[in-house]
Amino acid sequence: MRLSSQGHRHESGTLVIVGIVLVAAGSRARAPRIRSSAAKDLYASAAYEDALSTLSRTGRRLGAPDVARQVDEYRALLPVCAGPHAGSRIDRGVDDPRRNRWRGWTAADASPRLEPMFADVRKRLLPSLIRERFRTREIARSIRRASRGAEPQLTEARLMIAEAEELGVKDDGLADLSVLVDGFLQLIRSVGRSTASRAAGRPPRPSPSRAAAAPSARPVASRRGSRPRQPAPRSRVARGRRARAHVYSVDDEGVSPSSGRSTSACRR
């Protein structure tokens, strides 16, 4: 009887602790949405500095994507309202890697004068943002291993290149980079398809993308400021892949640099 009551108390205590943890987690998850909403109200009432300080308390935990997008938009917008030196502050807002989700102006309550202002900044920063996106270690590793890990970043880079084209960005290197990104995307997608077909017990079906990716299937640049390379020795090819494509990098045995047009884009 005594033991049973102790056990009951123990269970109740556990339930209370679990409840507190859940409530705390829920309120932490809601915090960005509440702050975003408060900042929006402050912005609407022309209290720009207060709105900005409210958003700065939101921190890096941005919660749901729609909240994150709104927070990003208002973070970029508020410095424009908040006074002089707006230009550099917009640059920072658009340049921040977390702001890369932001493309074009979507806030319903923004006046027409803001759209060209942000488009100009975006136009100026896009080439460097695209190159930053492309030169990540994860992309290099993913391309080297022919895994699909880098597909989201490459897709994002692809979208940014399309946006740059739409905005009329003048940058000669972007055309080369566009070819590279497309080639890598086709390559890793075709590898994913062949892996899936193998898993399903069917022979990999030839696809146009595989044929299109063929020129890129030769060893390609993968590291930051990477150098071009030549095909790996036959023994390694035989050992390293069965049905799986393998993209070689300078780290691989027997790979040495040579000249090539596509790789020059990586260096930029």
């Binding site: 609407a44 022309a46 309202c81 309550d109 923004a110 006046s111």
Partner: protein
């Protein structure tokens, strides 16, 4: 300066900063002069009453009297959708 003579001295009224916003947005006309599109921060106006017009191509226009207060903050917001 001669005793008993009067001279005119121009005194500039002090200016205060005003922040203006409108929903969805508006072209602001302050005392008959365009002040630009919202959002506007740190718009300098003299202390005292002013006539502010909010204009939007779809929501029409709305007049409002604003009073620049030295104690601040001076924030004027209008919701043209209501």
């Amino acid at each position: 300066m001669t005793a008993g003579k009067t001279i005119a001295v121009r005194v500039e009224p002090p200016k205060v900063s005003v922040s203006v916003n409108a929903r969805p947005w508006a072209e602001i006309v302050l005392d008959g002069d365009s002040a630009g599109q919202t959002p506007i921060a740190n718009l300098l106006v003299t202390v005292g009453p002013h006539e502010m017009v909010f204009r939007h191509p779809q929501f029409g226009e709305r007049k409002q009297t604003v009073d620049g207060d030295r104690e601040g903050p001076n924030r004027i917001a209008a919701d043209l959708t209501k």
